[in-house]
Amino acid sequence: MATNSYTPQELMVAVASREIRDGDLVFVGMRLPILAYAVARNAHAPSARGLFEVGLMRDQPAAGFLGTMGDPPNVAGALWSTRMSNAMALMAQGHVDLGFIGGAEVDRFGNLNTSYVGDPAKPTVKLPGSGGGADIAILSRRWVTLMNHERRRLVEKVSFVTSPGHGDGTPGWRQRNGLLGGGPAAIITTLCVLRFPEHGGEAHLASVHPGHTVDEVRAETSWDLQLADHVAETPPPSDSELAAIRRFDPDGFWTRPA
């Protein structure tokens, strides 16, 4: 399989999977993160475990395709099928090493909006809301966002902070405001990977995906994007990563263009 034959979503899944460290307890969100967990578990993180807010813990990825985290293959063979509040208890205790959150809008400090575009009292777009996003953002040790890279999504100021990132970007903002976890570590987009300094602050461009350029990324970002000292090219999905992605999403439900 040639390495150039992958979709942007397949690349995002591969990049997201590399954020999972062996032994991590991962709070797995819907869509691409489910695949990222499966890929990591089959590669470099064989002792990772996944925690799903619906009320599940797993080691092995589900054998069958998942349209949602509550689909029957995700339950069969689970290590724990329980109440949501029990999964949240583990996260509130700091036991979740990594969470994934999808976002509609994000700002330079990683604050995410999945609730309202415009005035919440009369929004121009009503988005679905937090789900577990705010919980992951506030309680997990570190988290990563996946989103399409568009100017209207990477914005100077989000209309509504559903899931707080590094707040106003000042040092210690999260601790001062009582947020428990370390906040966003990276934003994985269709064009690039943005990373945050370890103790919070502003995102910087860490790597650009193959076939894209720094200028293109900046053009599609509403704020004046900071660059890392050395902006790398994002390593493309390996053959084994692609094979795993296609095993868990055989029809390309999540990873092929509509």
Partner: protein
């Protein structure tokens, strides 16, 4: 009890209704459709995430307020009726009490334990604190106000006629919703003998003293999945998302799948049930309740 009777008697206009409390599985769509057919109005819907059912009830004009963490279509994205209601007051204005998944669970535990609120650290730093009047901040914690449903509608794999339900798979916020509610309506795949339910009292979901109706409604959760019975009907969710993009499209969908459908049995004749039915059985190891 029939679904029609259960909704007529126990879900009057203006009720606060917890429904779809296990997140993606076990969503009581049949009950929701009966609520729509009976033209209930001014409901407050309570749930964690809602996978299309809230969207349908909102589009049908049944809903005054949503108290939830997420409303949309889990595999497809946005809820178009929810958007139209919030953005354009179509078919009517909608009040939204935003939550996260954790905070709506705590709101129900507060009601279950009969306290005005429960504290948490989640939501600190989130604008959700600004839009939901039942959340407040003090002493460095968020205080989540109790949410007490008038009725919780819960779909389960099996129940007996006395109201003892067995459900399995992830349970989301079902237990706290049932305990917090004044009344519980059970809808079930199988209506079973008391010997089955009482053979495993640890699997009984809720105290029968809360249960006011047991409705035998096989397939009552379609298109959502039911462990051991049905897979999720992803295509049905996709079609719903496409057709509900416009108010006219939604009206046509609603007429076809709800208003012109007298009951669940008729509805299921139009679904490819065979392709969704789970045929590979995997039974739990028994627990020994022997006592002598």
């Amino acid at each position: 009890m029939s679904m029609a009777e259960a909704i007529t008697r126990f879900v009057p206009d203006g009720s606060t209704v917890a429904i779809g409390t296990s997140l993606e599985p076990l969503i009581p769509f049949a009950a929701g459709h009966e609520i729509i057919r009976q033209q209930r109005r001014d409901l407050e819907l309570v749930g964690p995430i809602s996978d299309a059912l809230f969207d349908q009830l909102i589009g049908a004009g049944c809903v005054r307020r949503v108290t939830a963490a997420w409303v949309g279509n889990v595999s497809e994205g946005l809820g178009h009726c929810y958007r139209r209601a919030c953005e354009q007051d179509i078919p009517r204005a909608l009040e939204v009490h935003d939550h996260s998944n954790f905070s709506i669970s705590l709101a129900l535990w507060a009601a279950a334990w009969n306290v005005p609120n429960l504290p948490t650290r989640t939501l600190l730093g989130s604008d959700i604190l600004k839009t939901n009047p039942n959340l407040s901040v003090g002493f460095g914690l968020v205080h989540v106000g109790a949410v007490r449903p008038d009725v919780a509608v819960i779909h389960v794999q099996r129940a007996d006629a006395m109201g003892r339900a067995h459900a399995w798979g992830p349970l989301g916020i079902t237990e706290e919703a049932g305990l917090a509610a004044d009344k519980v309506i059970l809808t079930c795949e199988e209506l079973v003998d008391v010997d089955i339910t009482l053979s495993d009292p640890n699997r009984i979901l809720l105290p029968e003293t809360k249960v006011v109706a047991v409705v035998h409604e096989p397939g009552g959760a379609h298109p959502s999945p039911v462990q051991g019975h049905f897979k999720r009907d992803h295509g049905f969710y996709r079609d719903y998302a496409e057709q509900s993009r416009t108010a006219e499209g939604f009206a046509a969908w609603l007429k076809s799948w709800v208003l012109d459908v007298p009951d669940r049995a008729t509805y299921l004749k139009r679904v490819d049930v065979d392709s969704l039915r789970i045929r590979h059985h995997e039974y739990s190891a028994p627990a020994d309740y022997g006592d002598e």
